[in-house]
Amino acid sequence: MDFNSNKSIYLQICDSICEKIMSGELGPDSRIPSVRDYGAEIGVNPNTVMRSYEKLTNDGIIYNKRGIGYFISPDAKDIVLQRSRKEFLEEEVPRIIKKMKLLGLVPSEIFS
């Protein structure tokens, strides 16, 4: 995985799992790798991956079956979609507007 963004690594791992949920690569009730296996796959400390899994669990996106592993929640996609829309509107849109002003572009030139 390429960690280029400026977000902390544990959040980037969350984002990457959420993207896979949105694209449908990870469907409801599908299993995700263990903390250690996923850490090995992407070259990240297992404790960091654990933090990501804890956050996703608290957010209701994944759930833990004790002794078996972590799975995608049935309504994960809805939760992720809502959150991503909110994030897009609150974080990315202002950045786009700022850039458009900088470049002297008006919405009609971009959105037809």
Binding site: F3, S8, I9, R36, G43, N45, P46, N47, T48
Partner: protein, 275 residues
Amino acid sequence: MIEINDLGFSYGQNPVLKNISMKLEEGKIYGLLGENGVGKTTLLTLLCGLKKPQKGCIDIDGYNPYDRKPSFLANQYYLSDEVAAVNMKAIDYARNYGKFWEKFDMGKFLEIMKVFENDPEQKMNRMSCGQLKKTWISFALACNTRYIFMDEPTNGLDIPSKAQFRKAVTKYTSEDSTLVISTHQVRDLENIIDPIIILDRQDVLLNATVEEISEKLYFDYSNEKIEGALYSEMTPGGCVQVLINTGSEESKVNIEALFNTVHLHKELVKGMFAK
């Protein structure tokens, strides 16, 4: 758990470690950072019982490392920066010497050698520097010890091997093992080491998890100059600035910038992270 209390060590008239105190918890991969000559290797050799503390003490699960009790030594492995080119095939070395560690796992040794694309049938004195290092790393991890101390393990490794090293370290250490890895190659190990220890001449400047660091310090990668930044560094893509984190947002910790910040503001940082 490792408890270091007021540890001191000098080479003749030259003091290296002075008043070092810290605790290392189990199940973590510690990164031990510090400028040349601050005593990283000395600290590692003290931890594994190769040297005797001249002042203070080290307690590892109730053991004093320098007593070198077999039951303690069987549960730890020290991988030195310079490794021996033994006149033996790697597999024979592992077979003969693995016996000293009760949990040594031959299958695991061969598996890690495979991850590194290393041939176990090759004689160790015929290997390149990197291949030799990878053989020793494989051996160290296959010993399945509670404590693994590694001194600059990624020195001499080629580019693909560095990713393989990260994989091996996360996959082949058990959950309760504690690793202490000293390194200058922070980029090789950026997402692996957590907590981070920064050692300074005769002092511990920082011993904190990445979570604690990103709660207290904010790493800004935008192009806007920020007043009051503790540290800033130009990079081709803009600049990295380190600030005191006043909000709740966590940014990506850049270890090189962290290291330089800590060195510029020793007392401030020590105060911020004092527990």
